[in-house]
């Protein structure tokens, strides 16, 4: 077993165990903190895949932005840590259906995909610069990039409109 495989197992274990804890903990704040740990595990997997920028973005956006927002909402809500509350609400049937659908799609994809088993080539040293170029390249991902920007801009304006003083 190589060092990389050991690290892969460790990071996968962190990700999966933390993810399991997220859905089983009755205390919502603990669940949110385990989610942070799970995100860190995923970031570790990205590093193993030699995609450090993706790992940085994973931590920056998911831990710094999304998790912080979720924890903020949780600590400001009453009774979220009460273990006597029921763990699910009336939407659990719909939730289970969607989950089963998503799960079967994922399993179908994983089983049907032709996994390459050859060693990948060396990641070029200027991979981040290439990523930057391809995002604003009309041949590359310019359109999705711009659409995302417009969407985020609309969200920003919406937030300001709701929050501004009248």
């Amino acid at each position: 077993m190589t060092l990389q495989q050991i690290l892969f197992l460790i990071f996968s274990a962190i990700t999966l165990i933390a993810a399991l804890m997220v859905v089983t903990r009755r205390n919502l704040c603990h669940a949110a903190l385990f989610m942070v740990l799970s995100f860190f595990g995923v970031a570790g997997l990205y590093v193993l895949l030699e995609a450090p920028f993706l790992a940085g973005v994973q931590v920056f956006i998911y831990v710094g932005g999304i998790s912080t927002l979720i924890i903020f909402a949780i600590v400001l809500t009453r009774d979220v840590v009460d273990p006597t509350l029921p763990p699910h609400n009336r939407q659990w049937i719909a939730g289970a259906l969607v989950m089963a659908l998503l799960c079967s799609v994922l399993i179908w994809t994983v089983l049907g995909y032709q996994w390459t088993t050859t060693t990948p080539g060396q990641v070029p040293a200027d991979s981040i610069a290439r990523l930057g170029t391809i995002l604003v390249d009309p041949e590359g991902f310019l359109l999705p990039f711009e659409v995302t920007s417009v969407l985020l801009f609309a969200v920003l304006i919406g937030a300001i409109t709701i929050a501004r003083e009248r």
Partner: protein, 405 residues
């Protein structure tokens, strides 16, 4: 003398040779060398506070016109032993956990806090070729680690299960998040000009300009203003505001040594980061001849200078309220940082590619001055208008509130 020139690299090579001679397989040599290197690097931020706390206490004493730490029974000559004394006291204190606290979260918060503060050191170049790991995402790695300290503050505040800690943690996180945007935008300006995230590249690029402090002073100022709240330095100190919310998010901790240490390590890391981004890092005269000077002399002097500036600000300025900090970061620093990026991009594009360092620096400086003349009056006018509006709202609200009584 030859050995001293590249002291740190030579020690590393000597260590690798020693292990290889002992007959260990290559993979173990690699693992042990990396482990020992990481351990040694982590000791730097853990050990230096012992000297720097003494320095800070002397500085604050001079600002307050006192003598400060001095010869005493326990303090030793010049108070040199005072900090070790305090550390021993801190470690031997009773470790009490509040009965209602969430034990796991409460106890792991300081660990997360210190871990994040240590991890920053992995990508800071300490000298020519002396760097924990020259990541291609260098500075971005440090920015994303900031997320970890936000989580640590929330963990400590919520885990204490105490209104004051939680309120302070929420205030602190609000400031930490609000300062993150100007911080990222100012770093982005540097990255844009350099064209790389890597820390050694950023240092090398400062040869084509003057130090970035002189080439883009606004970027440096925005960066300095945004790093102050991380280690809890005035005027942007609400993470730990002793006089308002006891000791902020770590009020309930009897052993707050870890937070204190993390705060100090953050201050040191932020100073060294400023020195690297804007003051040319380890570069200085004679470094080509004797590389070790870069680490022990130039980087140390620059870092100490930045740290002294931060301490001077901390001990001479009043603390802003949370809403005032939010107003400064969102309504002043953020628009300024956005304009700054546009202006620098324009200045960089209009320059001929073969321009010398002086031309580039002067062009960037001119762009900065132009920005000051245009943007500052606009922002000031908008601020005045906002204040007038608030005043009207307040006046309109007053009579009605009396009626309620």
């Amino acid at each position: 003398m030859e050995f001293l020139k590249d002291l740190i690299i030579n020690i590393g090579q000597w260590f690798v040779a020693l292990l290889a001679d002992a007959g260990l397989p290559d993979i173990w040599v690699q693992v042990i060398t990396l482990g020992v290197g990481a351990f040694t690097l982590a000791l730097v931020p853990l050990a230096t506070p012992f000297l720097l706390i003494l320095y800070e206490r002397k500085v604050v004493a001079r600002i307050a016109d006192r003598l400060g730490l001095n010869n005493s029974a326990y303090g030793g000559p010049y108070g040199l032993l005072q900090v070790p004394d305090d550390a021993i006291k801190m470690f031997t204190k009773e470790d009490s956990v509040p009965a209602t606290a969430d034990r796991w979260v409460f106890n792991s918060a300081p660990v997360v806090c210190v871990t994040v503060a240590v991890l920053i050191w992995g990508v800071i170049p300490l000298g020519p070729g002396v760097i924990g790991s020259d990541l291609s995402i260098g500075i971005f790695y440090i920015l994303s680690l900031g997320a970890g300290s936000v989580v640590a503050v929330l963990m400590a505040g919520w885990g204490s299960n105490n209104e004051y800690s939680l309120a302070a943690a929420l205030c602190g996180v609000a400031t930490l998040i609000s300062r993150e945007i100007p911080l990222v935008l100012s770093v982005m300006a540097v990255v844009m000009v350099v064209g790389s995230f890597s820390m050694p590249d950023i240092i090398a690029a400062q040869d084509q300009y003057a130090w970035f402090l002189f080439a883009m002073p606004w970027t440096a100022l925005i960066f300095l203003a945004s790093i102050l709240s991380e280690p809890g330095r005035r005027p942007f100190e609400t993470v730990k505001a002793d006089s308002e919310v006891v000791a902020g998010y770590f009020t309930a901790y009897s052993k707050f040594g870890m937070f204190y240490l993390a705060e100090f390590m953050n201050q040191l890391a932020m100073s060294i980061l400023f020195a690297t981004l804007f003051l040319g890092g380890w570069r200085g005269p004679f470094v080509e001849q004797i590389p070790i000077l870069g680490t022990v002399l130039w980087l140390a002097i620059k870092t100490l200078f930045v740290m002294s500036v931060i301490q001077l600000l901390h001990y001479s300025l009043p603390r802003l309220r949370t809403d005032q900090i939010l107003a400064v970061t969102w309504k002043f620093l953020t628009p300024l940082a956005l304009v700054n990026i546009c202006v620098l991009a324009l200045a960089g594009k209009t320059l001929p590619p073969n321009a010398g360092p002086w031309t580039r620096t002067l062009a960037f400086l001119a762009a900065n001055i132009g920005m000051t003349l245009v943007v500052l009056p606009i922002l000031a006018a908008r601020d005045r208008a906002a204040r007038r509006r608030q005043e009207q709202i307040r006046r309109a609200a007053q009579p009605s509130s009396r009626k309620h009584k």
